[in-house]
Amino acid sequence: MSDSPIQPYIRYENSQVKYSDLVQGLRGVSLDIARGEFLFFIGSTGAGKSTLLKLLTREVRESAGEVTLDGVNLSRMSDREIPLLRRRMGIVPQDFALLPRKRVWENVAYAMRAVGATRRQVRRRVPDILEMVNIGHRADAFPHQLSGGEQQRVAIARALINDPPLLLADEPTGNLDPQHSWEIMEILLRLNAHGATVLVASHDLVVVERTAKRVVTLDQGQIKSDIPPWIPTETPTDIASTNGDTDEPTPGSSDV
């Protein structure tokens, strides 16, 4: 949490989310994220990673506290404003959410048409978007003909249709092998390098360590640690074998 006088791009202020009397998603999270930052939320299942992302997309509303995005208090946002908010961010869901009967390019085109793009705009933009995530060569394939990594790239491509300055990815490498996981991470890093703020909820500690970006660890709805970016080691350690449910990540303890 920074005390910078500059307004952060995203600010969680004592955000609490109560799903029911027994289930609490967040227990007072305060966090500032700067524009253009790349940040991982890690932690065990139910720690609150996805809830933090969903507070930004307004799929979830806080029970207490506030969330601010680019100076706009999302807590005061009405339902009517949510679609416009989501056009300012790209959302990559964990399960890809691809349309099985549509080809790769149609999946992206469908999303574009849904937000009002004309056929001409779709024809012009879709090839470029697919190239951005290195899936242009599979444009005519159906989702079931793609590998997990390729499907994830299509999901990322779809998230880019609005040229979002903010990209939210929920377990983008959750179902992928290490090689494909790193390919996805490279795409996200490249988008970040082009100026997008990227927030990733992840279990994949190998990728987290190799990426060497800021890591916020959550445990039972609270921030346990907030480790700034560091200089990565040459090769990822075998930490993945400890699986993603580790409470305390080790990246911060790597060579800095």
Binding site: P83, L84, G116
Partner: protein, 292 residues
């Protein structure tokens, strides 16, 4: 705008094709219910109009006591008859003229017989349903023969009344129930479509599609189902109208029936179907598409 509309229509067509059997069930049930309500309503009006145009068929005869003979005695009674509620027309039938007519028609049977008829009147009522009341009121008049003083085609009149009541009942109760069932089927068809298109809905929400864009295809689906049901119902009404008119032509050949207003009926029933389909689909998407 054109692109948006095209996208909406494409989505609606995809939705309609997603559950063809449920769509078929919804359309046909709406058609049957609209036919029973709207169609039988039309048939009811046709029969009702027919009944109104043929009161002379159900004319009433009133026979006076023998003590009332001649124009001077009959005129005040005619005035009293005209004053009875729902009596449309009163015509005096002089006994001598009537007897002369009978003798002319059947000279052999009437030969050597003295005129047995009393003075009588021919009455037409304004409303067939009031015939019994009119007859009862006239029977109570002291000038009228107490036994058989009033005669009219009670059975035929009762048949028409019952036919109208049956059609009204059938159209109202049975049609109403089917109309409700049709609505529930449209509702279910839309709910199933929402379920089968949950990925599309999720994608639309993720990328920031407006609620209108998400909902409109489902509403179009409901409108299409209702409209097609209305068109089918109008066609069925045309068939029913032809059947009823054919039947009435047999029992009343001189009756002239108006040409069936196919276009208006089709417009009316498909309009009702469209509005009904829209309402059902609006209710159907309210809960599953609530929230963001």
């Amino acid at each position: 705008m054109f692109d948006w509309l095209e996208f909406m229509l494409t989505e609606a067509i995809v939705a309609l094709r997603r559950n063809p059997l449920m769509t078929f069930a919804a359309i046909t049930t709406t058609a049957v219910s609209l036919f029973l309500i709207g169609g039988l309503g039309y048939v009811y009006l046709t029969i009702d109009n027919y009944a109104k145009t043929i009161p002379s068929k159900f004319e009433m005869r009133v026979f006076l006591k023998d003590s009332y003979r001649g124009e001077a005695a009959v005129n005040p009674i005619a005035g009293k008859l005209r004053a009875v509620p729902d009596v449309a027309k009163v015509t005096w039938i002089p006994r001598d003229k009537y007897w002369a007519l009978i003798k002319e028609q059947d000279p052999d049977l009437t030969a050597g017989i003295e005129d047995p008829y009393p003075e009588s009147f021919k009455l037409q009522v304004k409303d067939l349903a009031q015939s019994d009341a009119v007859a009862a009121a006239i029977r109570n008049m002291p000038e009228v023969e107490p036994e058989g003083g009033v005669s009219y085609l009670k059975d035929e009149q009762t048949f028409i009344e019952r036919a109208l009541f049956f059609i009204r009942w059938l159209g109202g109760v049975f049609g109403g129930l089917l109309f409700l069932t049709g609505g529930i089927l449209i509702y279910n068809a839309i709910r199933l479509t929402v379920l089968s298109r949950r990925i599309e809905i999720r994608i639309m929400r993720l990328v920031g599609a407006s609620p209108v864009t998400i909902r409109v295809p489902f509403l179009i689906e409901g409108v299409v189902q209702g409209t097609l049901g209305g068109v089918l119902a109008a066609t069925a009404v045309l068939g029913a109208n032809n059947f009823v008119c054919g039947f009435l032509r047999v029992i009343a050949p001189q009756t002239v029936f108006p040409i069936f207003p196919l276009e208006q009926t089709m417009l009316l029933l498909s309009g009702i179907g469209a509005i009904y389909g829209l309402l059902c689909s609006m209710i159907a998407v309210r809960t599953p598409l609530r929230g963001q």
